[in-house]
Symmetry: C2
Subunit: 369 residues, 2 copies
DNA sequence: TTGTAGGCGTTATCAA
DNA sequence: TTGATAACGCCTACAA
């Protein structure tokens, strides 16, 4: 009786379990559990015996076992296209900060915008029973099977930065239409009237929105939409480089680039072609980074609240995990135009001032550092 | 008998379990397991019945349960100071790529170089029973308790980018001494002879190494070590800014900065003080990024193999997980000096050429894009 | 206040 | 080839 199965000594090289602690302190497993989670009142004597045993054995509750019984892993899966794209680290950090605060961890996956990798990642996260998934959808469509799985499975998804039409799920995005619209209007205000666009993949929701903002801004400013001045890239450096060559050969006097990596590629092309910014063309980019204020040309750009994007997405997801079953939410965060030098706005304004009476003083006050 | 406890229908809103599949296909749990993991030969008829049931119920093995019994989670914990520091995304990506390839996932934590957060993260990862931990040690020392835990616990650690003296664990780092040495020698070759240093926290191993490389290069080049030209920062932008102000007031003609973020801060200070690089001083930075080649000043810098750093660390860790119990390994990867314009080397060389006969043709060939 | 026993979803060991 | 059944480490009614 006394040498029942429970009293086997702890296996070598294996972490102490709750039953080891129970045996060591001569109490039942229940008591140890009660002490660890301080539920139910445990008598002072027993509590101390248990605590000593815990210290002695360096006991650490096995969260795997706890997850199994609680049907909760306190883990969130997060899939981004590529953590090396400087846009995402801040989003991930925002998510991690919010998750951490509520006792969740982040399992991170990169999809490289590949549907296959995305599917693998989602399947894996589901098998690992994460409590929810933060997804920046890869370009393209889910396979029918995966789509069905996502609809039927019982864990919440929150889309980050990119919506997906046939999926009625929560999404936290930035107002990309507005951002692009402001960017292009600003180029127009800087006196540019042949404005080009280097766009992201148009089947990605935010690329489409940025394109719409571009188009409507042109219309608003009574500027022509010239198809040869619109090039579709894939948000990577190389595509910005190629697009730059293609676009600059038509000599636009303004360019709006839909993300930072493609701007880098564009500037490589600019270099090769011996052009200068903002002298030869005005440039407005998307996303702001600390280094953009210190190097030349100082980029005028549209900042997106990246940290907030991640944190709000995580918070929403955790609400869903907690059982909030309201209607899907679409949260749109506001972008912010940061005017520096690459658009050539300051030069344009002062040239105007020299030439005539000041047009709109409010315009000049737009220039910030 | 037939209505034993096993035949309870699957709970509502809960994913199908192996016993649901077994019941659905009228076989035992063992048979389902055998099909899923295709072990032991299962007869064709049964196999198909099981496969149909799996599809019908959209069964997905619960990896939590599997982890519990296998004592393996196929998960690696990774702790970095801050994923927003552009150095780390590529390291994380390298680790993820290597891990992925061998069937592991990454649980990511940020320590902000805070000992408290680091300790919390490690404790959590241990409780979650990750199979191993990739750690970029936060500045400062482990608490004695944590140190003991790490020594005694049975899961492998691999230190990334920073070693830790009292811990005999594997580490994958870059040869920072060498990198700094080359950076400073290059400044000397560019004719600089009052060279300053903006250093990382000297209690971090790599900051110390970079400082040593700096000091030895000065000695090698017979240049003076001027204490007022050495400022200790914390690898963040703000500290680079403050250090820049402090340092530039002494008018050095060359500066080596020990990481990219502090270089950004330095350039802010440079701007405020109305100085120009490389005209007023030569600059060599650490770490290379795609944007450094396209903006001005084009930074001369020492590239560190970040992706490789992460992937080799992960591979080593996985070897340890697999039971390789050899002696601790210290793997040092080679940095690479990338000469661009901020050091003022090209100008110096051509000025020399103009003034006299070419000194060393090999020097000029060092200049790459 | 404390203990007992069943169950979470797997894998693994024996039998049959 | 298949099937019971005991772990894995924990939580939690329900009893005592």
């Amino acid at each position: 009786m006394s040498s029942s199965k429970r009293s086997r000594p702890s296996k070598p090289g294996r972490a102490a379990s709750i039953s080891d602690v129970a045996r060591e302190s001569g109490v039942s497993i229940f008591t140890v559990s009660a002490v660890v989670n301080n539920k139910s009142h445990v008598g002072k004597t027993l509590r101390e015996r248990v605590e000593n045993a815990i210290r002695k054995l360096n006991y650490r509750p096995n969260l795997i076992a706890r997850s199994l019984i609680k049907q909760k892993t306190q883990t969130i899966g997060m899939i981004v296209p590529d953590i090396v794209n400087p846009f995402f680290p801040m989003v991930v950090r925002g998510a991690e900060d919010a998750a951490q605060k509520q006792g969740y961890n982040l399992l991170l996956c990169n999809s490289d915008d590949s549907l296959a990798k995305e599917e693998t990642a989602i399947e894996l996260l589901l098998s690992k029973r994460v409590d929810g998934i933060l997804l920046t959808k890869a370009a393209g469509e889910f396979s029918p099977a995966l789509h069905k799985t996502i609809q039927e499975v019982n864990i919440p998804f929150v889309l980050v930065m990119r919506t997906y039409p046939t999926l009625t799920k929560d999404a936290v995005i930035t107002d990309d239409y507005q951002g692009a619209y402001e960017a292009v209007c600003h180029l127009a205000r800087a006196g540019r009237n042949r404005i080009g666009l280097i766009s992201g993949p148009l089947r990605i929701s935010n690329a489409k929105e940025r394109w719409r903002g571009f188009r409507d801004a042109l219309e608003e400013k009574k500027l022509p939409y010239e198809p040869e001045l619109v090039v579709e890239g894939d948000y990577r450096i190389e595509s910005g480089f190629r697009a730059g060559h293609a676009l600059l050969s038509h000599r636009p006097d303004g360019i709006y680039v839909a993300n930072h990596l493609m701007t880098i590629g564009l500037l490589q092309a600019v270099e090769e072609m011996g052009l200068k910014c903002p002298e030869d063309f005005g440039l407005v980019s998307f996303d702001d980074y600390p280094w953009l204020g210190v190097f030349r040309p100082r980029l005028t750009t549209v900042e997106l609240p990246k940290h907030q994007l991640g944190s709000e997405a995580a918070e929403l997801l955790i609400q869903r995990i907690g059982g909030n079953h309201g209607k899907p939410v679409l949260k749109k965060l506001l972008p912010e135009l940061r005017i520096r030098e690459s658009c050539g706005f300051a030069q344009f304004v002062s040239a105007e001032h020299r030439r005539a009476a000041p047009s709109e003083p409010s315009d000049a006050s737009l220039v910030n550092k």
